[in-house]
Symmetry: none
Subunit: 225 residues, 2 copies
Amino acid sequence: MSDAWIYGSTGSADDTSRLLAELGFSPHRVAANGTLRPPAGDSRAPALAVVLANGLEQPSCAELCARLAADEELGEVPVIVAMASDALGEGIGVAEGHELLVEPFTSVELQARIARARRAVNGVDHDDIVRVGSLEMNLATYQVAIGGRPVDFTYMEYELLKFLVTHPKRVFSREALLNRVWGYDYYGGARTVDVHVRRVRAKLGSEHASRIKTVRSVGYRWEEK
Amino acid sequence: MSDAWIYGSTGSADDTSRLLAELGFSPHRVAANGTLRPPAGDSRAPALAVVLANGLEQPSCAELCARLAADEELGEVPVIVAMASDALGEGIGVAEGHELLVEPFTSVELQARIARARRAVNGVDHDDIVRVGSLEMNLATYQVAIGGRPVDFTYMEYELLKFLVTHPKRVFSREALLNRVWGYDYYGGARTVDVHVRRVRAKLGSEHASRIKTVRSVGYRWEEK
DNA sequence: GGGTTTGTGAACGGCAGATGAACAACTCGA
DNA sequence: TCGAGTTGTTCATCTGCCGTTCACAAACCC
């Protein structure tokens, strides 16, 4: 799923790892040898970076923050900096865009600060971004991207796709789709749905087009397979 | 003798007042009757605003935050929003530039977050120049330049452009723009937004005009691409 | 192979948005 | 106080997009 890179090796690193895992992240520890990437795994930018400031010596927290902020490829990564209360006074530099977390913290606070850090980067709440394979829907910006490349959907195409994606596996009759996507007071030909499905499929491309399954004499279904 | 305005009246208000006083502020409680200013004293912008979210009903925390962020005169005030841990999950909107503080907190953490909130304001104030390609906005002097050549924007044109530029990627409905750029108590035709968008586009010139994307039957979005 | 269901291409028509211009409110200086 | 200039809003018209529909081809089931 979404990777989280953890910098620093205080005693709280294991706790933090566990909390992040509970929140749905795959935590990866990053060695404190100067690199910004975890030793193994792909080098795709993670969904989150967590800096445990306590005991960070080489590089220092401020330096690490600065390098994270400056890294070209990682430039868009949400960053959370966690430190103990008594380390706050030491003028440790936490970059402006980064979110400050003071230990001890609860899982709920961590979650809230993750959301804030991500919002600062993406301009929207993470909850508003849906990913299915290489397909990415930003529900706040009305943008769809496939493999990072933006794809233009018209309003109705977008609404239809959004509905299907957010209601996976269930089959919807054309009538049901007309009611829930077009609106309850709508009355028009059911074939309208067909045409829209076709256009959405075309824009989705070969990789994702087949995700909209047609269930003969019933309707359509979104399948993430 | 820097003033701090405190919104909300939970039990922690007194504690917060005391802590702020210890840190050298003059705390003033603001009535929860809708105004943003304290009942007495001069109306100069304070050095700090603290929102105690717990128990805030009318206006809600999110609304209060939005109004604080939108207030013309107070726009440059550092804001801290304090709330209990169990209130975090409710999707309470804390504006992006505001600093989130989770109760219970220590005096040291409060101090650190005050510093961050102030840096956020002063920082934005400081390198107050936003650059997007050859477009340059000086948020302090209300000046816009394209390719080094100054361009005149009227007040509302400037405000609209500034709002879009400082909230990139996100789509805003005309109504949302009317609320957040024109003001909450404004009520007028939504087409007003169209016309202003058109004028801003015209002044932006061919290179930047397309950065204001229109999302059909939704609204407008700023894209730096 | 006949009937039903779905895919496909093209064309129509409505409407959202762009555009130009006029109007109203306000500022400022003579 | 008047008038000219500026600025925000609204009206009227136009244009192009896009949602819808239709006709036909293809696929599927009996």
